[in-house]
């Protein structure tokens, strides 16, 4: 992956000036490259990575992964039923997978009841959905490469040859 993208993935708030120093390019050059990435859709947006436990405490957010079996439609395959489903605001992610079920959804709600309500009232009742299986999130250990636990202090000497 390009050096600039790798830096931005780790810290999107690094300025072109800072990135220029790290990569040996000029500030202008870096700004142009980032600009291009934004224009061609490589960089979609910048956002903060939140600690889900803190958010859960503050907002009472509940997350669940839902396996969905669907009947694909003639001419549209899985795409049109997937669209029907992922357009719900509650659905944060939606993937088509190989294996024992078809769609995997990440659904967020304020409470267990809210997520359960979404599944029973909205999702299961869709014509082409044949079955669902809901897994509520209990604890996040690692997400998108970030490990959610208090960092242990490493025993590295402060000075050595």
């Amino acid at each position: 992956m390009d050096d600039i993208l790798e830096i931005l993935i780790q810290d999107a708030r690094k300025t072109p000036a800072e990135i220029a120093k790290m990569t040996g390019k000029s500030e202008n050059e870096v700004a142009n490259i980032i600009d291009n990435y934004e224009k061609n859709g490589t960089i979609l947006k910048y956002r903060a990575v939140l600690n889900p436990e803190h958010i859960a405490k503050a907002d009472g957010a509940v997350r669940a992964w839902i396996e969905v079996k669907v009947t694909p439609q003639r001419g549209a395959g899985f795409d049109s039923i997937a669209e029907r489903i992922y357009k719900f605001n509650e659905v944060k992610s939606c993937y088509l997978l190989s294996g024992g079920f078809d769609l995997l959804l990440l659904v967020e709600g304020k409470s267990l009841q809210e997520v359960a309500g979404f599944v029973s009232e909205k999702l299961s009742t869709l014509e082409n959905v044949t079955s669902t299986s809901t897994h509520f999130l209990l604890k996040v250990y690692k997400e998108n490469g970030d490990i959610f636990q208090t960092a242990e202090k490493k025993e590295r000497l402060a000075i050595s040859f």
Binding site: D11, E18, M22, G24, K154, R156, I159, S160, F161
Partner: protein
């Protein structure tokens, strides 16, 4: 024996200069909340798949000695790795010895090849163990100062000037601790010419070979006619972030490796088996992670060196390792004064140049094996320190 002689120390050890830097180190270690650019090891934890292989080895009950030379599988892995990545072919049964870090290998080597009075040419600044290991083996270190040479690089001419009938070997460490200097293939060929012409050994410490940013690393023994004249030292500490595993290796002519193995067998027996098992995994699957760490060091390198030059501390862009070797002349202080005051006033730890040889008074070594945030904060503090001074 007279009572006062009861605790007498051997004169060889007694005459080793006490590390003048010890007091400074104690000062650093006694302080809390220091931002440290003074560390000679990676800030990354060993890649997980390597740690996991070590755990698996323990679970399987690999807790015994290994053969003196090292585990067969590891010797074979080292051999095929060097063939593939470094273009040099060593026989795993006769030309490789697994050691407890390059430090042990260096000690074994000096003891194996030196007779009293034999000379070893050592470029300064250099890693702190070279001179003592030569002295402990009864040899005479001959210093080749590179403080004023472009990029702190050894040249063929400077080597030639120091060769006498007693010269046994030249030590070359590249990329270098503490300067980060490294050599292109052309530059190495010029050094090799002298080694061949004068018929001396080359001790090539290439422990930082994975951390070479601007130059494609060439291993000395891969050059024509150099394999028989080189003892190649490498290990897992730096590239694979495995310092605590204490594992290195030496490759060279069968006769020398056998002699080293003889000493190793009596003094160390073998390297720890768990570390050896971990190293097998490192060689099998470790390179992608090594390259990822190298990319990260490279960014930090540029950031640190740009910051130092902004502060007015002259520093050339080091080609490798994870050190910047900056001049503090413009601050009107010695390396030791600068490091001590910086530590006391701004709580930033760096290593005074004096640690790496006489002639180091003008320098400090800063390690960029530290997070980007720490490097940025350290530069901010160094700027403030120089402004206030």
């Amino acid at each position: 024996m007279k009572k006062e002689n009861l605790h007498k120390i051997s004169s060889l050890v007694d005459e080793l200069p006490p590390s003048g830097i010890r007091a400074f180190f104690d000062l650093v270690l006694g302080m809390d909340d220091v931002i440290s650019l003074g560390v000679g090891e990676p800030d990354f934890v060993t890649p997980w798949h390597i740690c996991e292989a070590a755990m698996f080895a323990l679970e399987k009950g690999y807790t015994s000695y290994t053969s003196n030379r090292g585990l067969k599988e590891l010797l074979e892995q080292i051999s095929s790795y060097l063939k593939k990545e470094r273009k040099v072919d060593y026989n795993p049964n006769t030309e490789i010895l697994v050691t407890v870090g390059v430090s042990e290998a260096m000690d074994l080597l000096m003891r194996a090849i030196l007779n009293a009075g034999d000379e070893v040419i050592i470029p300064e600044p250099c890693y702190v163990s070279y001179i003592p290991t030569v002295k402990l083996a009864g040899g005479n270190p001959v210093i080749l100062p590179t403080w004023e040479l472009p990029g702190f690089k050894v040249t063929a001419e400077e080597i030639k000037k120091r060769i006498t009938p007693k010269t046994r070997a030249l030590v070359l460490n590249y990329p270098s601790n503490p300067t980060g200097a490294s050599y292109t293939k052309d530059e190495l060929e010029k050094i090799a010419e002298v080694i061949i012409e004068k018929n001396i050994l080359l001790i090539s410490d290439e422990i930082y070979d994975h951390l070479s940013y601007d130059i494609e690393h060439t291993a000395m023994p891969s050059l024509p006619a150099m394999k028989e004249r080189t003892i190649y030292l490498n290990g897992f500490s730096k590239g694979y972030a495995m310092t605590g595993f204490r594992l290195g290796y030496a490759c060279g002519p069968e006769k020398i490796i056998s002699a080293m193995t003889k000493i190793h067998q009596y003094t160390m027996l073998c390297a720890p088996i768990v570390s050896q098992m971990a190293a097998v995994e490192a060689l099998k699957n470790g390179l992608p992670e090594v390259k990822k760490m190298a990319r990260e060091y490279n960014r930090r390198r540029r950031l640190l060196v740009a910051g130092l030059n902004e502060c007015g501390l002259k520093c050339h862009l080091p080609e490798g390792a994870f050190y910047a070797f900056a001049s503090v002349e413009s601050a009107g202080m010695t390396g030791m004064e600068f490091a001590t005051e910086l530590l006391k006033k701004e709580k930033v730890a760096v290593v005074p140049g004096e640690a790496f040889g006489s002639g180091g008074e003008k320098f400090i070594r800063l390690a960029y094996a530290a997070s980007l945030n720490d490097i940025e904060e350290a530069i901010k503090r160094i700027k403030r320190f120089i402004g206030k001074k």
